[in-house]
Amino acid sequence: MPVETVFETSIERVSILDEHGRFDEELGADLIPDADLIKLYSHLVTCRHFDEIAFKLQRSGRMGTYPENRGQEVTSLGAAYALRKTDWLVPCYRENAGLFWHGLPMEYVLLHWMGDERGNEIPDGVNVTPLAIPIGTQMLHAAGLAWSHKYRGDDAVACTFFGDGATSEGDFHEAMNFSANLDLPVIFFCQNNSWAISVPTRIQCSAPTLAQRGVGYGMDCIQVDGNDLFAVVKVVREAAERARTTNRPTFIEAITYRLGDHTTADDARRYRDQEEVEMWKLRDPLIRLRNHLDGKGLWDETRQGALLEQAEARVVDVVKSAVEIEPLPASDMFANMYKAMPAGLEEQARAMRTCSLGRIPGETVDQAAT
């Protein structure tokens, strides 16, 4: 045949609890037990409060730049809930809810943004990598981490989070391609929040969906309502199952929205319409879930009040431990450069002056460099 069709595909979009509160019983039934639902909602509320406080810490000069998570909490939380503690979360920087659920202590995120490496000193047994500042670079680490488990023969998977903008980086392509072609159990979780700082998603991808980014790798890909906890849990569960049983990766595009500025250093009014923001506020995942719980009679104002009190108390402690942590000695910057500190560096650390100047003139080499 002179012109024949050699490939066909389609992309599907999953929604269970939609923005109008409609719940799809068929897909949604026993996806999440009520008890867990309450835990998850409570966690979301606590994380939202944490986010507000973190923002205030920056504004009051007690913390550096901070990227608000507001509006996107359900994406990473749904994923974390659908995964196991033995799985890896490889985040960007807007996944607090999922990271905390997976076991990262809350104060770590504050310490990170307070310019303190202790915020990255991940406790043993918490399978999380540090917040990734260079966009797009962490997905390859997820590929390697997933590979290390496949190599060892256990069935842990790695789920990496990133934004719409990150999908423009070459490393995204290489991570997708490695995972697809070497059969690595990775879940690529893209949070399409419409913006990369001031740049709209269409500049990052002019295709009708970001989900179809997976097609070129022969990868399963799917689009999901990222503000719908149920839908996120469902697609991540399926992706995790696929990864565990077949080592095949999955690309997930979750449609969500960044309700705040890009970071505290940004002013989104310069480049986006307030109407758009207002429209998305109505799709706030927390409100949606709260209404659902109310509808099921699982929640009410009293419970909400109690929860808020707990959340405030919890975050107060977290802030306290981050703000009151003992100061870092300047020498700390040398301490972890290598497992064993080389002589030259040791000398710089001793003098806290460059090696060039650290030596008393005339001092002989052997004293100095050994």
Partner: protein, 322 residues
């Protein structure tokens, strides 16, 4: 004359060069409507339109690689890399192509582009927003590297860079983007790439620095009360050894100051050349006051990492006492 910050001087230079030459265009992340995360391209999108001030996809290799093509196509692209910490993904395009195209094709194809990159520490920014990679690109033949320390130099150097027939990396010390203002002529002027500036004459010792460190050097010199000659390199590649050597042959002593780690930093090159060219005049070894040989720490410790007036003064004392 207008009294401008470094950011404003750069913005003015960009406007004037875009007015003057319609082959000049700007591309990068958030350079359009948003005017850049440091507002360096503020107002340009409105003034010159979306064809000449282009918000690109989030991909540094793409920004530089496409700029190389634009330049080979006869235009004068000015790509912006949002922070020096994100120049890494573009390293390969810069070194394997931008730097080599002229010699590879014996001049048949050339790459007149100017990469603008905020650089350096001291603003309490997150990780990878405070590094100083100038030595990396100084080691690469075929690329010029400049870094102004004042609004006046920023405007003149940027105009020279844009008009330069070869690739130039224009590092902008973000710590002094708005630290002070200076009289900057309204009309265009150029500062030759490759010419250092004697900031202050002196006979006792020669101090060489560039970028934001020049300010630290001034503080050190003023509070030390010593008769020190301060040279602002301005162009890091090529290095103006004529002025440096002439000064050291006069003073017999030298200190080099930069933010980057010491090992294989530009200070090593300058110290070596001073030794080679001024050996018989040297009263003491050239000393380097630099960042330490460790990763720029998160911001709680960044001021302990960066050379400051005290460390510089100590170095001066050491050299003079030698």
């Amino acid at each position: 004359m207008a009294n401008l910050t470094l950011v404003q001087a750069i913005n003015l230079a960009l406007i004037q060069e875009m007015e003057r030459d319609d082959r000049v265009l700007i591309l990068g992340e958030d350079v359009g409507l948003n005017g850049g995360v440091f507002r360096v391209t503020e107002g340009l999108h409105k003034r010159f339109g979306a064809d000449r001030v282009v918000d690109s996809p989030l991909a540094e290799s793409g920004i530089i690689g496409a700029s190389i093509g634009l330049a080979m196509g006869g235009l004068r692209p000015i790509p912006e890399i949002q922070f020096e910490g994100f120049l890494g993904p573009a390293y390969d395009q810069l070194c394997t192509h931008a730097a080599r195209m002229r010699t590879r094709t014996r001049g048949a194809l050339t790459v007149p582009l100017t990469v603008r990159v905020p650089v350096g520490g001291g603003i309490h920014a997150p990780e990878l927003h405070s590094d100083s990679p100038e030595a990396i690109y100084t080691h690469i033949p075929g690329i010029k590297v400049v870094m102004p320390s004042s609004p006046y130099d920023a405007k003149g150097l940027l105009i020279s860079a844009i008009r330069d027939p070869d690739p130039v990396i224009f590092f902008e010390p973000k710590r002094i983007y708005r630290a002070f203002r200076e009289e900057v002529p309204e009309d265009e002027y150029t500062i030759p790439i490759g010419e250092a500036r004697i900031v202050r004459e002196g006979g006792e010792l020669t101090m060489v620095s560039w970028g934001a460190s020049v300010i630290q050097c001034m503080n050190a010199i003023e509070s030390s009360g010593r008769d020190i000659e301060l040279i602002d390199l301005r162009s890091i590649s090529p290095i103006d050894m004529v002025r440096i050597s002439a000064s050291v042959q006069k003073t017999g002593r030298a200190v080099v100051v930069h933010e980057a780690p010491m090992t294989c930093g530009v200070g090593a090159e300058i110290a070596s050349r001073i030794m080679e060219e001024c050996f018989l005049h040297l009263e003491a070894p050239v000393q380097r006051v630099t960042g330490f040989d460790c990763t720029m720490p998160y911001y709680k410790l960044e001021l302990d990492y960066l050379p400051d007036a005290d460390r510089i003064k100590q170095a001066v004392a050491d050299v003079i006492a030698y």
